[in-house]
């Protein structure tokens, strides 16, 4: 009972004080009644003290656990999933898409209750169209940046090649769905990019091509109509409007579920900010990539040892 020993002096002191106060305060009561009252007060004080001691102990335990977790977390190796360049691209992309959706969707749904507010937010339609074009400029910049990144950097080239969908992805989908339905216990083991991430990547590719292409038609319609008939611009308008809806829905439902609302991630991850995955997450979500990294290290380490 080391705990009790440690606490005893304090408890004893308090109890003595209570005892003194009680004897001083109850001189004219008959001794039996005074004794009963004293006993009651003593019991109550002991109860309260026991409670307080338990609370302190609980707090101590949680503090220690947290510290241990933190130590563990710091010790656990971090894997850089997205490099600084890629994170910057993603930030440009999502800022521009948010602005584009906020200024574009009211035009598709002018009767929606928020539409009027969203346009008034920029000071009217004259300004919101300018904001839309600025955001469009950001998206075009992102596209160009990403092209250059894909061609000129080693990470970009490697990621692009890994993004190409293959037969394995179809197998993974099948395996994953069988697992969801409980027909098979094993989950597909993904490499650097799962089929979900590949879909996201190519959806953005397709979306950017359609949106930027048709958007430029609408932006420079007079110039375009120097060479093409009006129905080409009308077609671009239709594509712009429809693909905008598809992209928005895909982002808000699919992408948000996968990065924000699914129980593993809720309420979101800071991966887009620090770009790092923990070893645990790495093993869980990208086991093949993890193995590859480990085996590469295994090959490298003898060399290191030789030096």
């Amino acid at each position: 009972m080391p705990e009790k020993d440690r606490k005893d002096p304090v408890t004893g002191h308090i109890e003595k004080e209570v005892e003194n106060a009680l004897t001083e305060g109850l001189p004219e009561l008959p001794p039996e009644e005074a004794e009963a009252l004293k006993e009651k007060v003593r019991r109550r004080v002991r109860e309260e003290m026991a409670k307080e001691a338990a609370r302190l102990a609980r707090e101590q335990r949680t503090r220690e656990k947290k510290r241990q977790d933190e130590e563990m977390g710091e010790k656990e190796e971090k894997f850089e999933r997205f490099n600084r360049n890629f994170r910057f691209q993603h930030m440009v992309l999502f800022s521009s898409v948010i602005l584009l959706v906020l200024t574009g969707m009211p035009l598709k749904f002018p009767d929606f209750v928020l539409s009027r507010f969203l346009i008034a937010l920029w000071g009217g339609i004259q300004n919101s169209t300018i904001v839309h074009r600025i955001a469009a400029g950001m998206l075009i910049y992102f596209m160009v940046h990403h092209f250059i990144y894909t061609i000129l950097t080693r990470d970009g080239r490697r990621d692009f090649l890994l993004m190409i969908p293959g037969l394995q992805d179809a197998k993974d989908i099948r395996k994953n769905i069988r697992n969801f339905l409980g027909k098979s216990p094993d989950k597909p083991s993904f490499g650097r990019f799962s089929y979900i991430e590949k879909f996201d990547y190519w959806a953005v590719y397709w979306g950017c091509v359609i949106m930027i292409g048709s958007g430029l038609f609408l932006w420079f319609e007079t110039e375009v109509m120097r060479f093409l008939p009006k129905y080409a611009v009308d077609m671009a308008h239709e594509m712009h409007s429809d693909e905008a809806l598809l992209a928005t829905l895909a982002i808000v439902i699919w992408h948000f579920y996968n990065v924000h609302f699914n129980p593993d991630r809720f309420p979101g991850t800071l991966l887009w900010w620090h770009g790092q995955l923990t070893e645990h997450e790495m093993k869980e979500e990208h086991p093949l990539e993890y193995e590859e990294i480990m085996s590469r290290r295994g090959k490298e380490s003898p060399e290191v040892a030789d030096r």
Binding site: G182, E238, I253
Partner: protein, 357 residues
């Protein structure tokens, strides 16, 4: 018996006397005025050489709504004959006010008039601005429903045209003017779009033809299948406009974006087949290419339907684009949502399984 007969006789006598008296007064008054005004050669030569016709006879009011009135009922400032000064302009509100004893019809139109562009001009001291009588007529005021009235559907344009001459000339040859001439019952005259007493300048947000309200005004007739089908005109033009960028931006309060009249014209609207029409294929480059709209517009602006509805097969390639995206969106989203639900289902199963263990 005798008593009641006597009473009847007395009553009759009083009634007759009263009738004679009032009739006599009216006759006297009229006669006094027509002493001078009844002569066709009685005219006033103005300083600038113009001649003012002041010829009035006992028949001047005949048939009008004021048939029973006499000169001084309206020209009440004439108190001696011959009058020394020119009588003031007649003020209709002398009788036409709420609760008047004459039983003159009264509506709030007169108040609306004072708010209107015309009323404001009068108040600002513009002597050329119209008062009631300038539109409704002076001595021959008829009810609006009467085809002969100056403010009847058939004649009101001419009445407005007395001041707004150039506009009247343009309107008369426009499709609306021609239709009105033909007696087509739905054809709009000036008041059809501008309103009657509540006429405001088109730059005034209260105006029915303010840039953001034009489409609403046109849609009163042009969105009505009942009216448009009679004349073989499409009734979807307003709906397609409202879905277009022009229409949406207009709805959000843009005054620079095109409304109906920016392309079709204002008073000179003509059918697209008319070579003078602003929306004739040959004129479209000029119409779309206005300096503030799409400068440099080419003939390609006219290739393809303007009021295109992507939901209709007639839209051709635009319809197919819309259809492709419709099924692409439905298909993709369905697949993604199914995947999400399967994922959640799998997670739930795993949780239950772990709990069971």
């Amino acid at each position: 018996m005798r008593k009641s007969l006597m009473t009847a006789a007395v009553l009759l006598g009083v009634a007759l006397l009263a009738a004679f008296a009032s009739d006599g007064q009216a006759l006297i008054s009229l006669e006094k005025c027509t002493l001078c005004h009844g002569k066709p050669e009685f005219r006033k030569l103005l300083v600038n050489g113009a001649i003012r016709d002041v010829f009035v006879t006992g028949d001047s009011l005949k048939g009008s709504v004021h048939e029973k009135k006499v000169c001084t009922d309206c020209h009440f400032d004439v108190s001696e004959i011959p009058h020394r000064e020119r009588p003031k302009r007649v003020t209709c509100t002398h009788c036409h006010f709420k609760g008047n004893k004459e039983g003159a019809p009264q509506s709030d139109n007169v108040l609306a008039y004072f708010e209107s562009a015309h009323g404001k001009a009068i108040a600002a001291g513009n002597v050329k601005a119209p008062l009631c009588q300038d539109c409704h007529g002076d001595h021959q005021i008829l009810k609006v429903k009467n085809a002969g009235s100056k403010v009847s559907r058939g004649k009101v344009a001419e009445t407005c045209g007395r001041c707004h001459m150039e506009i009247y000339a343009r309107f008369k040859t426009s499709i609306h003017g021609v239709a009105l001439e033909k007696g087509i019952p739905e054809a709009p005259s000036c008041t059809g779009c501008h309103g009657e007493h509540r006429i405001y300048a088109h730059t005034d947000p209260k105006s029915t033809v303010y840039p953001t309200k034009v489409s609403e005004q046109c849609s009163k007739c042009h969105a009505s299948v009942a009216i448009m089908s009679k004349y073989g005109i499409e009734a979807e033009q307003v709906a397609t406009y409202k879905e277009s960028f022009h229409g949406v931006a207009n709805q959000f309060g843009s005054r620079t974006v095109a409304n109906c009249s920016s392309c079709h014209g204002v008073h000179d609207i003509r059918p697209p087949e008319d070579p003078l029409s602003m929306v004739n294929a040959r004129n479209i480059p000029a119409t779309c290419g206005k300096a503030s709209c799409h400068p440099g517009a080419t003939a390609n602006f006219a290739v393809g339907k303007i009021h295109v509805d992507p939901k209709k097969k007639e839209a051709g390639i635009i319809y197919w684009t819309a259809t492709f995206f419709k099924y692409l969106t439905i298909g993709t989203m369905l697949a993604l949502i199914v995947h999400i639900f399967l994922d959640m289902y799998g997670r739930t199963r795993r949780l239950r399984g772990e709990q069971g263990r």
